[in-house]
Every structure is written in C-alpha cells, then in structure tokens.
Symmetry: C2
Subunit: 607 residues, 2 copies
C-alpha cells in the first residue's frame, strides 16, 4: 500500500517539505525549521502566524480566521498558519512579519543560504580521436587534457571504465566528468540536469534530511523521520546497553538506521520526481554513538570508561559501501566526532555558530540528554559533555512530556499569584514540556514559593503533601474541570540536577579559560529545547550565567545547518577539520574540584 504524500513549498525560502498526513501550515513550517511567530501556541487567538497561499487548496476559513478578517486584522488573501490545514501540494508565502524577530532567533536553521563553492562540479572533457599513429589508451585520453584529475582508487577507475570507453565512441569523443575537487567521481555522456546533495543530522530521536542543490545552495526538500533505533532503547545509554548484549545487536542498530535513511531518501525522490543518481554528495553528522552506529563500527566501547571512540577522523566513503542512495561512486562525507561524548553534531553546531571565525568570547550549548558545551576565548576552544539527563525532555517528571500538542510550553505567575499556561496545540493541557517546567520553577522561585535551596513552601495554598510525604505544587486543578497537573519536589530536584550538570560544565570551562560572565560576547543555544527556552528564566534558575539577554541566541537545529555548510563548501569542510583539531576536549570528572563545581551548579544562584 503506497502512502499518499504531498509537498509544501515555503517562499521566499524555497524550502520544500514532504508530508504524508494532513498538517497545519504552522506545524509544517516548524518541521521545515522556519521560525514562525507563535504567541498563543497555535490556538488561532493571537493572529500573528499570518501566511498567504500562493498555490494549492487548503481547509476552509475557520471561525477564528473569520473574526480576524472582519476586524481587518487579516487581509483577504491572508490566513493563519495554525488554522490552515493542508492535505495536498501547496505553495505558501511566509511574510517577514510572521517570522520570529525576538531575541530567540532560529536564523541558522534552514532559512539562510549557505556558502557554495565548487566542491562538486562538472568537467567537460574534449577527447582526442585516436589513430594508428597515436593509439592512445582511453584512460590516457581522458586525463590528457586535465592531467590533475585523478581517481579515488583503482577500483573506482575500474568501475568508471566499464562504461566510459563505449560512451567515448558514441559521443564522438566528448564526455562529462563529475568531479569532487580533482577527483573524478563518475563519468557521464552528458552533464546531469542538476547536481544535488544530501545533508543529514542523525539525532538520537529524529533524523533530519535536507536535499540541496549543490550549484546554488537551494533547499530542494526537507524531511524529518523518527530515529528507528528508538525501538532498541529510548536513549543512547539504553541503546549502547543493547549493543553490548550481543555482537549482532550493533549490526541491527546499524541496519535499521541505514534502511530508514534509504527509505526516506526514496520517498523524497519519489515525491520530487528526482532520480536518486542525481545525488552526488552527502554529509552526515550526529553524536559519537550515532556516528559509530551509522558507520557500522563498534559502538559498545563508548559505554564504558574511558569512553574511547573508534575513530575521530573525517571520512569519505562511497555511497555503495554504506548502502545509501546516490550516484554510484559518489561519496559521503562524515566529519569525525571530537570525543566519546562530543560528536560531529557538536562540531557542526560550532561551525554554524561561527566558532574559530572571530576572537569573540563565545559559549555554545547544545542541550539534550547529554549536553555538549564549548567555550571559545582567544586561540582556545574547549568543549565538554555533561550527562544532563532527559528531565528537560520531560522524562522522570511526573507530568513531563515532549514538546508536543497538549504540553505546557510556557507559564507565568501574574501579580495576583495566578499561574497562566501556554499549551501547544488546540486541546487542553495534558503535561509539561522542558521549557514549561523551566518557566514554572523560575516563577515559583520569583514568587517565593520555592526557597533559595529549591524547596517548596509548605505553607503556600497550592502546595500539597502527598501520601508519599512528597510536596507538590498544583499548576492546573481538577477543581477547574480539567486534568490536574502538578510539579512535585522530586520533579524540581530532577530539574535542578539537570541544570546543575549544565551549569557546572559551563563553570568548569569558564574556570579553565578564566572567563567571567561579563566577558561573554554571546551564548548560542542549539537544539529544539533551546528554541522554546525562555532565556530570562534560564538565567533566573541559574542554568545560564548572568549575561545581558540580548547576548543569548537560539539557533534551532544548528547541527543540520552545519551539515548543510559542509555539504556545500570545500572551505567549510576545511574549517571544520581545522576546528576539530583546535577543540580541546575536557573530561569533567577528572577536573580538579569537580564535585564542588557540581554542588554549586545545582544552586539557584551559583557563585
């Protein structure tokens, strides 16, 4: 049974997204990495997520939209992204006013065109017509006009010269070489219609694929798929545990990953009627475990001390070798990880965030189950990894959940002491996601309901003590006819541990390079959680050092952006490899007074 799918094209970005089920324009824009304004949480009440439908059919006007039209708050050709549902091909215009212009920018996501240089290019080769006097071999004939051109290996040469000799004679001695720098990847009779490339960020939960035009950097299609390894373990440590159980398990993880990517590329190509052979270059980033699993080298040694990676070198591997789609003989560029728990996604993030490009003091943070942190000062770039755990993703929190419909994503306490919640989607709240928990804890602290040691005030009317003697704060009450949602002392402790892990990592790097908070020119936060995070609250609870809010920037899927940069530009690859060499990895557990840094980090206001 073939799934029906359709493509949504976003202008002025030229981004295409392939969908397999009905979606609101807002959700589709999010998936494509376009940072739309989203004040009411997609309830159709704020009227900010304005779009125009340039081509295609959409769901009829909703009541909310009719109200905005009547009030002239929406022009006749405008609709609200959160209210408009698409089920077929469409072209959507997102005006500038609908883009996030607050301090939380997601600019480095899919909206910026990357630098393009001629990494992959066609070379038209005019051949000699051989004669009895000059019976030049076919290989020498190809190389005679371009003596610098070469082949990656004799194997590749052999593959290419299975078909080329006949083509040379059929085209009247003129052929096209597809080259990566001076390397002949393949020979064709005619230059291909387009040279396409694929950049992929293999996240632990989601794999993001970007199909790009290598000649102008245009994004041709974007697709996100769940990481199929989830079937073998929710997080990386669980999957590495699975890998350690049986020698064949690593291979299972590798195979499901490759198969899922293969299938996703197949779907992208079918929906865009692109021949997979037009994909002539690829770049994959991910954390070290994803990197090892993708390559099919042992990942299980990453799980035990001293957490040594198998390899950290950037590799170029032919597509066939990895079982991926693409022009036979074309290569997959796989930047190397930095260390056992600092992957190539971190490298890609730092590349896209401009590390090693200026002499600014930069602090880069990619928050996840493992949080990678990097600090640049002068010639030094030092990075570390800290096990912040899955609390910010809602795990181990009673009412915790991922940032999905029904999640409280933001909250504040008004001057009357009432908690107001923004919920993702149109339904009622069913849980709290990371950014919501952060807001709530910060507001509870500001309101004095949490004391400086992070304990709930037992005397507050909304703080109850459960049967298990654990205090909890009621966020939404069943008395109001909805699901009761509360935050317990245990939940708060989890979050403080998580933020403590991050803050102690930051503090150790700052200590190592002797950086004070006021020296920091920019804090760059990557990852989905970083985009939802309210930086004011992050500082309030002591997760981030106290800097001016204008110096905090969220960059969304920065690893994907870095992968796209490395896909498109030889210079960026060289920069990334230089950056990788320059990054000094710091093992936190062996840093002097590590325990003191950690104890300090979990406090609301660390020293």
């Amino acid at each position: 049974m073939k799934e029906t799918s359709f493509a949504i094209e976003f202008q002025p970005f030229g981004i295409r997204l392939i969908c397999t089920e009905a979606t609101t324009v807002l959700d589709a824009a999010r998936q494509a990495g376009i940072p739309m304004v989203n004040v009411c949480g997609g309830k159709g009440t704020c009227g900010k997520c304005i779009i125009q439908i340039l081509e295609g059919e959409a769901s009829p006007l909703t009541h909310n939209e009719q109200v905005f039209h009547k009030g002239n708050l929406l022009a006749q050709n405008e609709r609200l992204a959160c209210e408009t549902i698409l089920t077929a091909d469409a072209k959507i215009l997102i005006p500038q006013k609908s883009l996030q212009t607050t301090q939380i920018l997601q600019t480095e996501s899919a909206t910026q065109k990357e630098q393009v240089d001629a990494l992959i290019h066609n070379v038209n080769i005019q051949l000699q017509k051989p004669s009895l006097e000059s019976p030049i071999s076919d290989l020498e004939n190809v190389l005679s006009s371009y003596p610098n051109l070469q082949f990656e290996s004799d194997s590749r040469l052999l593959d290419i010269f299975k078909l080329t000799p006949t083509w040379m004679r059929e085209t009247d001695w003129q052929i096209n070489a597809i080259c990566e720098n001076d390397l002949i990847l393949g020979i064709t009779k005619e230059p291909p219609e387009r040279l396409l490339g694929l950049a992929v960020d293999i996240g632990s939960t989601k794999i993001a694929l970007y199909l790009l035009d290598l000649e102008n950097g245009d994004v041709v299609a974007v697709k996100g798929i769940p990481n199929p390894q989830i079937g073998y373990g929710e997080d990386i440590m669980a999957r590495l545990g699975f890998a350690m159980q049986d020698n064949n398990n690593e291979n299972k993880l590798h195979t499901v990953t490759i198969d899922a990517i293969h299938q996703a590329v197949q779907e992208i190509c079918e929906n865009t009627t692109i021949d997979p052979n037009q994909i002539v270059n690829q770049c994959y980033v991910g954390n070290t475990a994803m990197h090892h699993i993708f390559l099919g080298v042992p990942s299980r040694h990453l799980a035990s001390s001293p957490f040594t990676p198998v390899l950290t070198k950037a590799l170029n591997i032919p597509v066939e070798k990895l079982g991926l789609q693409g022009m036979p003989g074309s290569r997959v560029y796989i930047p190397g990880p930095i260390a056992g728990f600092v992957g190539s996604d971190h490298l890609a993030f730092l590349l896209s965030a401009g590390f090693a490009e200026s002499d600014q003091v930069l602090l880069g943070i990619d928050i996840g189950t493992n949080t990678e942190i990097a600090l640049q000062k002068g010639e030094h770039i030092v990075s570390c990894s800290t096990a912040s755990g899955p609390a910010f993703e809602g795990a181990h929190i009673r009412f915790g959940m991922r940032a999905a419909p029904g999640a409280i994503e933001h909250a504040h306490i008004d001057r009357n002491g009432l908690m107001h919640c923004d919920v993702i989607g149109e339904g009622e709240a069913v849980g709290i996601c990371g950014s919501g928990i952060l807001d709530i804890i910060s507001e509870l602290k500001n309101a004095g309901i949490l004391n400086y040691r992070g304990r709930l005030d037992i005397d507050h009317p909304l703080v109850q003590v459960g049967e298990d003697k654990v205090r909890s704060y009621t966020i939404l009450s069943a008395a109001d006819g909805q699901r009761e949602i509360s935050l317990s002392q245990k939940d708060i402790d989890q979050i403080l541990l998580a933020k403590g892990a991050i803050r102690s990592g930051i503090a150790i790097l700052m200590d190592y390079l002797a950086v004070s908070p006021d020296e920091i020119d920019e804090i760059i936060i990557a990852g989905a959680f970083g985009s939802f995070l309210n930086p004011y609250h992050a500082i309030q609870i002591g997760m981030l050092p106290e800097v001016d809010l204008s110096r905090i920037k969220a960059v969304g899927n920065a690893a994907g952006a870095g992968a796209r940069m490395m896909l498109l530009s030889k210079e960026k690859r060289q920069k990334a490899e230089g950056l990788a060499k320059r990054i000094e990895h710091l093992e936190l557990n062996t840093y002097p007074d590590f325990e003191l840094f950690f104890a300090n980090g979990i406090r609301f206001t660390p020293d």
Copy 2:
C-alpha cells in the same frame, strides 16, 4: 560429484602440482614447468628422464625400465619419468642429470627462486592502554607508534575497524597489521601462519597458477587449467568477435574467467589444506584482451582499428572487487599492457628475460597466434606485435595438431633420404605439431625437395599431386601400415606466411634501431612452442636471423616467471613499471616499406 585429485611434489624444487587424472611423471613435470631431458619423445627408449620416487605409490616397472635396470643404466631406486604413472599423492626427486642442459634452456620457468623483498610483511603493533586522561581513539592508537602506516582508502579503514576495536581489547592491546609497504591491508589478532601469494598467467588457451610463499619465494603449488573462454572462440579474434555481438557477451567472458580462477584456487587450497585467507597478494598477467576481459572493461574495441586499449596503467584492486579468493582487503596487482596487441605477458617476459638490466643487444620473441617481439639496443627498447596466425599451433595445416600425444614434434632426413620422426607419447603418429612442421620444412629445403622459393619438387618420388592439383610430400605412408601423413604446398605456404610475419617484425625492429644480426647478444624465445623449436631449423627456414646457436635461449613460460617476480618483489614491480614506460611500441602496418619487409620475410633466406 567431487573429482578426486592428488598432489605431486617435485624435489629439489619444492614445486607442487595438483592433478585430477592419472599422469606420467614426465607430463606432470612438463606441466609444472620443469625442463626434463626428453630425447625419445617419451617412448621409454632413451633412458634419459631418470627420477626417484621419494614417497607414494606408482605404476609397476615397465618392460623398458626392466631392460634399463638389467643393463645397469638405471639404479634400483630409479625409474623413467615417461614410463611411471601416478594416480595418488607422491614426492618425486628429479636429479640434475635429468634436467635439460642443452642450449634450449627453460631456466626462467618455475625452477629458479625469484628475488624476494618485504613487499608484504607483518607489523607487530604494541598499543597504548587508553585512560580517562588520555582517551585516545582506536585509530590513533594503531597509528601512534607507526605514523607512516596508512590505509588504501577510508572504505578499507572502515572495514578494518569493524573488528579491530574488539580485538585490541581482547589481546591486551597488541595486534598484528599485514602491510603492503606502508599500506595496512588488514589487521589480525595474531600474525598469520604464512603469507602466501598467487601469480597467474592468463594465456588464451591455458591459465597457469603459481602459489608462492611470500617470505621465502618457495613455490607451494602449481596448477594449469584450460582457459574457459575457449568455449566462446578458439582464438582471441574469435572471442572479440563474440564480445562485439552483444553487450552482455563481454560479461560472459569475464565471468567464466573469474569463476575458473576462483575454482582453481579453491582446489589448490583444498589439496594443500591452505586457508584462502592466507593469500595476501596476487599478480596477474596476460595479453591485452585477457587483461581487459579479466578486469571486466570493454575488450571489443581492441578488435577494430586503431586497436586502442582501455587502459595501460598498472592497477592494484582489492580481491573482493574482482570476486577472487584471498584475504579480504588484500590486493591484486595487475601490470598494464603496452598496447592493443602487446600485453602485460610480454612485459612480464621482458622483465624475466632481463631487458633494461644490461646494455646488451637483446631480441625477445614470444611466438603465438600473435607474436610479440622486442628489441633492446642501448637506451632503446622497441616492441611490436605481428599476426603470425595459428599455423605453428597446427591450425590450417591438414595434418596439423597441438603438441600433444601423437604429434610429430621433431623430424630429420637421414643421408639415405629417409624421414625419421619423433612422436609425442607412446602411440603412433596422428599429426604434426609446430616444431615438427618447422623441422620437416627445413629438412626438405636442405634436401633440395623444396626449392629456394618454397615450392615442392614435383619430380621427387614422395611428392604427389592431389586431385585438387596441389602438391604434397608424404611423411608417413599408409603403405607402411599406418596413418598416412603428408605436408601439402598449401601447408608450406601457411608456414612461410607465419614465419614471414615473424621475420618481417624482427627485420623492422632491427631496421628501426639499426641492428645487424652479428650485433645481437641473445635471442630469447618464450612460450611452449619456443621450447620445442629447434633453433637450427628456425634459422634454416629464415624465421630467425643468422646468429650463433649458443646465443639462442628458450625460456618456457616466461610470462609466468615475470608474474612471479612481480608478485614477490617491490623492486621488480618498479622495474616493470619503468620498463613499461621505456618500451616504445611500433605499429608495423604504418612502418615505411612494410610490404617490402613482409615480402622479404617470407623467403627462405631473407636479405
């Protein structure tokens, strides 16, 4: 159904031959390339092919052998190689006295040990034990003690690091690398028992395989198999014609060749209980068509003017790529051909014959359907190919046949005008092979039965005129109660055309480099026919220039010898590649006055 097979080991050479059917020791020695004395043609009457059976059972003493024993011409532990039949494993001693010491030497065959240098070698790698303070990656760990070591490609590195990380930990941080120069081909926990190599000469009719010990150059086993391409055409032009008929035909030729070699190696390994993974290097030579078919690149363009080869570069291809047996990741070295009709077998011949090693004037001739000729003088080495046709292999000759049992291989006319014939094997004569025809023509000329223009004397009693008006000379008469065998004027014309093609090639090369016959220090003749050829008669009929007979040397399968040299020695490979660059290929058809050279060449005594 599994064929039973057995192994014959020849001492003092250490050569092993795998046989699948009963064989005389003489035939087996011939197959193994050992030049035994063979005066009576294997009839058991000359008593020269003396051997000793060191181990194993053989057929009982024959009447001939009993006669020699009685006359004390054979010691009690001695037997005659031509009379002794083996059907099971045996070890045979061939004493020095039984080896050819006449001017026709086959020394360059399998009897000489080649130069061995450490092309393939084991490297013991002592690794660091990584720690949290120094969590070195597994790859860096391997390379840290030997920074010059590298991998052929990132693909190979990836393959090797699928198993190596676990081995590193299992062996307490010590592993073995199998290297080709500075290239890591593979990594093992322990050094393998032996490092073996395979040298293969892909002839148009026979494929010769030599399994060698790479550390000391010992020949471990020898096997000859028929070239399965014969099913698609008797000679190269017929096979190229087949290749041109359909695009898939080239692939058929390639596949049967690879399969046959695969199967032959399988059999060698089964019979010697050797693990094919111990084969860590291979070298293949052949004429240009065999080279192209073996590699699977188009061969059909070799059949039409200007006969350009696809490639002439020496290649190193991993075994898996070619579908051959051997250690995964180990490489097959394939020297490049010189031109469309001058293959890498010619290069191997010149290497083994010492071309480019001295400043002697050398003439090298490899006689076959195509005869390749090379002439060295000073800095110059020039080679050509000439279509001498299959007459010397008995084709297009009424009673012609290959050098097989029943063939007249030598003949002379005694002072009474009677023709005496030596027949291969024990039966009566059924035909004439190339060397026999050559002798007969030479003797007929010396006896005046052929005139200077090569016409049979119609007045001679043994010359008859057939119904087709064609004269023929009766060699063996039905009147003597045997098969009548004769040589017709047409047969003689064919032979004169063939020898004319060879002589005109020689003459053009000598003209080009201004060499006179007395300047030639050595004429080296390769190939099976060359070993049977009587050089006196070859000069008599004008096939070879008039030089002192002591300067003519036959070297047997010199291409196989060259392949073995290139298998064993890095220096020989470099020499071969230098030689290939130095060889100037001369296209005979475009040489000035080519027709005059040819017309002159077919005469009995060319100018």
